[in-house]
Amino acid sequence: MTDELSSRSISELAPLLQKRSISPVELLDATFRNIHRLQPKLNSFITITEDEARKDAVRAEQEIGQGHYRGPLHGIPISIKDLFATCGVRTTAGSKVLANWIPDFDATAVAKLREAGMVMVGKTNMHEFAYGVTNDNPFYGPARNPWDSTRIPGGSSGGSGAAVASSQCIASLGSDTGGSIRIPSASCGVVGLKPTYGRVSRYGAIPLSWSLDHVGPLTRTVKDAALFLSAIAGQDSRDPSSSSRAVANYEKEMMGEVRGLRAGIPKRYFFEHVNPEIDSAVRKAIGKLVDLGMKTVEIDIPGLDCCSAMEAHINLAEATSYHESYLKKQADDYSPDVRTDLEAGRFLLATDYVKSQRARTWLQHNFNRTFEHADVIVSPTLPAFPPPVGEEWVQSGDMREHIIDASLRFNIPYDLTGLPAITVPCGWSRDGMPIGLQIAGPAFQESTILKAAYAYEQASDWHREEPSVD
């Protein structure tokens, strides 16, 4: 059974920690009772940092006791996807290639979380180099879904999704190149936020594809996503794509009125080839948004049928370029599927890569035109449920498709355009698997999608569901 204290949200725990009604050490103990019980079943972590976490918790307790409260993440147990450099802690990126790498620096997002007072409980399992969606990791074992441990948790931040859902941490830091925050969040029944490209520094995150990579949180609630984003957002001179725009007060702005907000409902692409249970749950969620006073407008965005090709050309070319030196020295240390992707990247045409980058500009324009008529775009996060570990094909309504196609289809448009998107739970299937509602918005309008997601969350009880892992 999950320890009750560790299944609470950041926004519930923070005032208790600040008032010293609970201590960070007490909270950490509760979290580690879950980790010790569930790690053998779910394999959410590659590295568990219990000794360091205990030191962090003791320090947080002392600081808070002395009146030096840093903010809502102070003393909160947080996990970090093993993609992010952590000073003095092994960082594998889920690979054999980096199996023994111990960085002497922190990724910027990790450094910001440390400044905010987090207690880092460990480095979470992930798909090798974030290059896939199953999290069936050949070197560290597959991460498993807390709602059905025979199934995948989605990926590539699969360990993060599983750990947050099963209360092995309160929140987790993830990355999203083709959906890798939102896919495991939807698959595990938690909230996942991919911010606007440039909002959170990529420095210290092992790249998959420089121009597609995003950094963001996986949390239990929408408010927690806002609190987490506030801690990690902001300009960083070490990331050339980092934005100088001022960081909004997300927690305050998300509390605004949703009445009159326009929800764009795509008439094509985002509702095609979708499992009927998912389609039904998402349409009910849209009905709930209307009950809250939002309006719906039908939208049609040109260019979506090119997204798969654009993603393939950009991702493969950039990934192979990054891995070139590792391929020269350690080619045999890659798994067969990642090795194949990297080899294929050598044989794609530069003209297709440039055409994809040009098409990206066009796609951004098309979305911007859409946002003249809609404030947010609402869709399913995924068209199908996560399959059993080892199974690579899923049934998406009337279409059988590869798990990669299914996972990326509704997620990749927002990586290509850099637009912010959040997934929130909006129901469960008859056999107990979670369903995600995706809400996307204009560039740097995280507050708007948080507002719509928060209003929906408050009008439903899905975020209170907890898995029972036996």
Binding site: V133, G178, G198, S241, G303, A309, L348, Q357, D405, L419
Partner: protein
């Protein structure tokens, strides 16, 4: 993370495999025999799904040298 649907394309497989093996002077790297077929399958899938992208007329639209969200 590439879109991978290996059953979609098989006919071009052998021809592409031979082509990839012959391209080492262009790529600067020798593709080992054990990776030729899987790599050719994936390249064929990507070429197949690229038809709508290649058909686009993007006029004067330029790629950004560094990508920024806007």
């Amino acid at each position: 993370m590439a879109v991978l649907a290996p059953t979609r394309i098989v006919a071009q497989g052998a021809r592409t495999s031979a082509l990839l093996q012959s391209m080492s002077s262009l790529t600067g790297a020798q593709l080992q025999a054990q990776w030729v077929d899987s790599t050719a399958d994936l390249v064929n899938v990507i070429v197949d799904i690229s038809a709508p992208l290649r058909a686009l007329d993007l006029g004067e639209i330029e790629p950004a040298t560094t990508f920024f969200a806007r």
